[in-house]
């Protein structure tokens, strides 16, 4: 009777619009938020922040960006990493041009650059679909990474060709750069991720989300209910790239601390795509589940041999990691295209009925 819905009636449309029509879901979210905002940061070690907590959040956000485009609007993209890169470089330039700028403001502004470039590279989607569109976004991927390398202005003409995050303070506390403490960075990332996730949930449930899903499910019918396909697709590219761009800026400024152009290569794009697929296309929750799995898997694999008192070469562990992810991708593509989020949905439905199976 964990998930008892009896006795919970909806008395108004507003109540029916509630994110969690079932009270237990709201409770569960409360518990998760409690862990994220209090229990983890109070207990985590530096190692946990840097290898688990912060990357999970940033990858979730990147995957969310991709998911808005691919999972909701149905436009496949292999260029996520490049848009992340545009966000990171834009944030870098903004903070060099306006040294005293609040980092949150810099991030918010930086997102507009990938958004604009996303629109440009989204133009082919007005003509082509699916596989062919994916190839077109791949062109964006290679072109932009090439640009990151060749356009020295982007990295302030550093001889290394890399960008180095300076020490940045917000309200007197270091939030980025070598001086920043992990816990501060974690809270910063957590705040941004929570905010954008909340906005995304709202967008996907309202008019814009319905338009995207309509285009995804049947574009001809969408057009004949009056939806302007061009605006629908380009808005998806813009918003998706904005979110991806912000995640890219976080990736460099709040986690890695430095970036070379090839950090944003196609491998990262695929990694994000795998997170979205394993987590579940067309689900917000899925991004988090997918990111947890992808980020935690190698860490857990590293532990296991020690637990049983033997050791495995790290190269072998990496291969095992790759194999497991490959197997998961195949499993989800074939058996459960809606990913971990769908598996959770099924489990939840079972819990609602439990212990009465009818």
């Amino acid at each position: 009777m964990l998930y008892r819905t009896a006795g919970q009636f909806k008395t108004s449309y507003e109540a029916d619009f509630a994110l969690f029509p079932v009270r237990q879901d709201a409770l569960l979210l409360g518990v998760i938020l409690l862990f994220a905002w209090l229990i983890f940061p109070l207990t985590a070690s530096d190692f946990a922040f840097q290898t688990l907590l912060i990357p999970v959040l940033i990858y979730s956000l990147a995957s969310l960006g991709l998911n808005l485009l691919t999972g909701y609007a149905g436009q496949l993209s292999l260029g996520t990493a490049a848009f992340m890169g545009v966000g990171a470089y834009a944030c870098y330039k903004i903070t060099t041009i306006f040294p005293g700028i609040n980092l949150l403001v810099a991030l918010a502004l930086a997102g507009f650059f990938p958004a604009a470039i996303g629109i440009v590279f989204g133009l082919p989607s007005l003509r082509i679909k699916g596989f062919y569109l994916a190839i077109a976004t791949l062109a964006a991927q290679f072109f932009l990474v090439w640009l990151f390398e060749k356009w020295a202005w982007l990295y302030n003409y550093n001889t290394s060709g890399a960008i180095q995050v300076p020490n940045i303070r917000m309200f007197g506390v270091y939030v980025a750069g070598p001086q920043a403490a992990s816990i501060t960075q974690y809270y910063f990332v957590l705040f941004v991720v929570c905010l954008i996730t909340w906005f995304s949930i709202n967008i996907t449930r309202g008019r814009i989300g319905r338009i995207w899903k309509a285009v995804r499910d049947m574009d001809i019918a969408a057009e004949l209910v009056g939806i302007n396909l061009m605006r629908a697709k380009l808005s998806a590219f813009a918003i998706s790239s904005y979110v991806a761009g912000v995640s890219g800026a976080l990736f460099v400024f709040l986690w890695r601390g430095a970036a070379e152009p090839n950090l944003f290569d196609v491998q990262l794009s695929f990694r994000i795509l795998f997170i979205a697929i394993i987590g579940g296309l067309g689900s917000i929750l899925g991004n988090f589940l997918g990111a947890i799995l992808i980020v935690a898997l190698p860490v857990v694999l590293n532990w296991i041999p020690g637990l049983f008192g033997f050791s495995i070469e790290s190269a072998v562990l990496q291969h095992i990691n790759t194999m497991i992810i490959g197997a998961l991708i195949i499993f989800f593509l074939i058996v459960e295209p809606l990913g971990l989020a769908r598996l959770w949905g099924i489990a939840r439905e079972k819990l609602i009925l439990w212990p009465f199976p009818h």
């Binding site: 906005f199 709202n202 967008i203 319905r210 309509a214 499910d217 969408a222 209910v225 009056g226």
Partner: protein
Amino acid sequence: MDARLDLAGLTGARDPIAHGDVLLDVRNVSLSFGGVKAIADISFDVRKGEIRAIIGPNGAGKTSMLNVINGFYTAQHGSIVFRGRERRAMKAHEAVGQGIARTFQNVALFKGMSTLDNIMAGRSVMMRRGLFWQMLRHGPALAEEIEHREKVEEIIDFLEIEHIRHTPVGKLPYGLQKRVELGRSLAMEPVLLLLDEPMAGMNLEEKEDMSRFIVEVNRQRGTTIALIEHDMGVVMDLSDRIVVLDYGKKIADGPPEAVKTNKDLIDAYLGVAH
């Protein structure tokens, strides 16, 4: 019963054309695909407030005709006059703004969305709140959402699909999908509703329900309906006037009695089982 769709005020205010006047005038329209002439020089009109059936054997050009009317195809010759305005080419998504909605011969719903969202999607163009308010989903955006939800709930009540409100339409049986699709087109509050075989593949009971809905929409909302249907019983019952197409040509046009008694027609086309 009659209050359920709050219909009286809706269309009168929207349309200057009086009941019984010509709403849609199809003038000498021709359309071909490569060598195939789907429509050859066809003219007919649809009057405000009537149910106009378009019948004919498979491949006669009926669906193509609807596609020309709502701008999905552009006729190579001839023109369309709708509500007094003549046009040749237009973008498909503009039809809704002019007051034309349609359903499809093969159900064209948004499979991954619920019944409710499918019908709400029909009101997308009437909703205005931009990205900022959508992000917050509060204030004006929520008010707008509720306002349209109320309209959609009226349609859901009317079509008796309350129980499948939150079901993804991909999981619904075919008959219910057709009903949801009708709901989506009603949500657009059209002046002219184009229905492409709304009863295909339905059993008798479902057909009766669907006929009832069509008549009620026509009577209560005053919506003009152009209907393609193969079931002659239904066509004779529902329609005010019938246009008969064959191989892209118009071969008859008139009230049901006239078409019914046209023996040649019955022998040549209507007797044929489809």
